[in-house]
């Protein structure tokens, strides 16, 4: 879960000298404002990669170093990537199952109530509870409710729609929907230390490492 809480960035009020960056170039968003007393609150550090292999490799290494609040960004789903960042469980199937069961019960219950309790009608001597004739609509209700659970469940768990997110501030992030791959280490990770993270990402074959402002 990305922590978007701007109130509590672990690396917020630090002054520049705390982590004199040994690196030049685009990482030094802090260095661009040497006179500012307080650097802007930091969401994290993001590294850009050229290939999915580099990204997954980096994600695995960063995870092995003990970082947990990390996230990858890619133009298409990469199974190995979610494994590498330790995100392998989702409760979506359970949500969809519950949605389907409730939909089915509601669908059958609706027909039972209308045809048996509220408006019983003798049709050719058929029983009021003609349950086989109620199955098609029950089935459709199962599918409809389960499909809504899948779509809405996915959007809600993903916290979408979300018009603003700090990673959109990364200069080259538009390429994340084309052919570039990104790995973010978030500032609220307990192990987060700006200089260390930057160095680590640099060593992992990143094209570029930059700070992400909240």
């Amino acid at each position: 879960m990305p922590n978007d809480d701007p109130e509590n960035p672990r690396h917020g009020g630090g002054d520049e000298p705390e982590h004199p960056s040994p690196l030049s170039g685009p990482i030094a968003s802090h260095a661009q404002h040497p006179h500012r007393r307080h650097a802007p609150p930091l969401y994290g550090v993001i590294a850009e990669f050229d290939t999915p292999g580099d990204l997954v490799h980096a994600a695995r290494k960063v995870y092995e170093q003990g970082y947990r609040r990390i996230n990858g960004y890619s133009p298409y789903p990469i199974e190995e990537l979610s494994e590498a960042i330790g995100f392998t469980h989702t409760s979506l199937p359970l949500i969809v199952f519950i949605g389907g069961v409730l939909g089915g019960l509601a669908g059958f219950g609706m027909q039972y109530y209308m045809e048996v309790i509220d408006y019983p009608l003798n049709v050719g001597g058929k029983p009021y509870n003609s349950w086989p004739a109620f199955i098609p609509i029950t089935f459709e209700c199962i599918v409809l409710a389960a499909a809504f659970s899948a779509v809405l469940g996915m959007l809600i768990l993903n916290k979408l729609p979300q018009p603003y997110h700090p990673v959109f501030n990364v200069p080259n992030f538009a390429m994340a929907t084309r052919d570039r791959f990104f790995l973010a280490v978030e500032a609220n990770d307990p192990k987060f230390d700006h200089a260390k993270v930057v160095l680590m990402l640099r060593d992992l074959n990143a094209l570029e490492v930059s700070d992400v402002e909240v």
Binding site: P77, M114, I137, M154, T177, R178
Partner: protein, 448 residues
Amino acid sequence: MHSTAPVIDPGMTFASVTDKISSIVLKRKTSLAWFFGFAISFALFQLMLLAITNLVFVGIGLWGVNVPVAWGIDILNFVWWIGIGHAGTLISAILLLLRQRWRTSINRFAEAMTLFAVAQAGMYPIFHLGRPWLMYWLFPYPNTMGIWPQFRSPLMWDVFAVSTYATVSAMFWFVGLIPDFATLRDRARSKPFQLLYGMLAMGWRGSARHWHRYEMAYLLLAGLATPLVLSVHTIVSFDFAVGIIPGWHATIFPPYFVAGAIYAGFAMVLLLTIPLRRFYGLEGFITMRHMHNMAKVMLATGLIVGYGYIVEAFFGWYSGNRYERFMIWNRMHGPYSLYYWALILCNIITPQFLWWKKVRSNLLALWIISFIVSIGMWLERFVIVVTSLHRDYLPSSWGMYQPTVWDWSMFIGTIGFFFTLLFLFIRFLPMISIFEMRTILPSAEVEE
């Protein structure tokens, strides 16, 4: 060219796939041919609006339907359109579950076709009601009349099946589009389009956690859509099979209808993609492999449909029921026998050419066969609807059915509406799923 042909041109990269597909929407100048095609479709769409307006003003007598043939080509067109729609769901959902990677470049387009075909289909039963402004009576809502719909009727099953199908197809399509909306948002140059695609993308940023849930949701939707599509056409066939009209009351109907739907749908996908890939230069994405595979699916389902015809005739004879026997005889030799034999020619004889690889590799031949199959599937529903109804039990109530100019206006009009939507789709949305195309690139393999 053979079936080992690649599913994507080997020279493609993440960048070229993205740029090529998104440029059709964002950069390419709208061609004159597009305007021309759109103008014709839009004009025909106006014909549909005219036909509907006239129908609502004058009444259902405008159509050729009357006792004994109260279901004319209007219910026929409903079945025809919804059948066409089914190939889209088959391609997007069933082939996804079967891990057929070749589906990737045609699924978006096929899903759009599904949605637009279902929109046409849905209109027919509503306007066939006679008083279409009371169509909400079909839905179970608490009302002052104190009554509820009759859930033992297949017509109510139809309401739920078709509305569920339309809703789930739309959701499936939209979910598939979200990552591509993000791609377009990041590529768009003009502010209005950035805003439009940005809102539709809902802030999608390609996060690994999002992708994980997204893939799960997509897979579950595919798993739900697969039995759904089978159930929808099964229920459409129940509209007939639950009735006791000779020729309708048969257990073969559900599988026979489902196979026919897939058959007609694949014919329509081929009919549309063959000119489209050529016009937009998409041969690198929709390769000959796709054409071969779709032709094979068409051949296989065509054979199932052929089996259906044989079993229908066998049932008529084996039932020992004189009405059933007469129905088959009347189909083959009665006043509508021309339709029956034309249907055999279109649906059983024509697809046999697909056994030859040479025919499957010839796009013109494939297009012509698809066109003939589309007509054949229309004739099949004509034969089922009309020949069973026009001469059932009592000879005193026999009659003939003739569609009127307004029946045809409505039908041609829906074709116009379908193509209007399709033209708008290929102009404003990526007709090939960009993110799924990236996954089938060789460079998508993770090598550490």
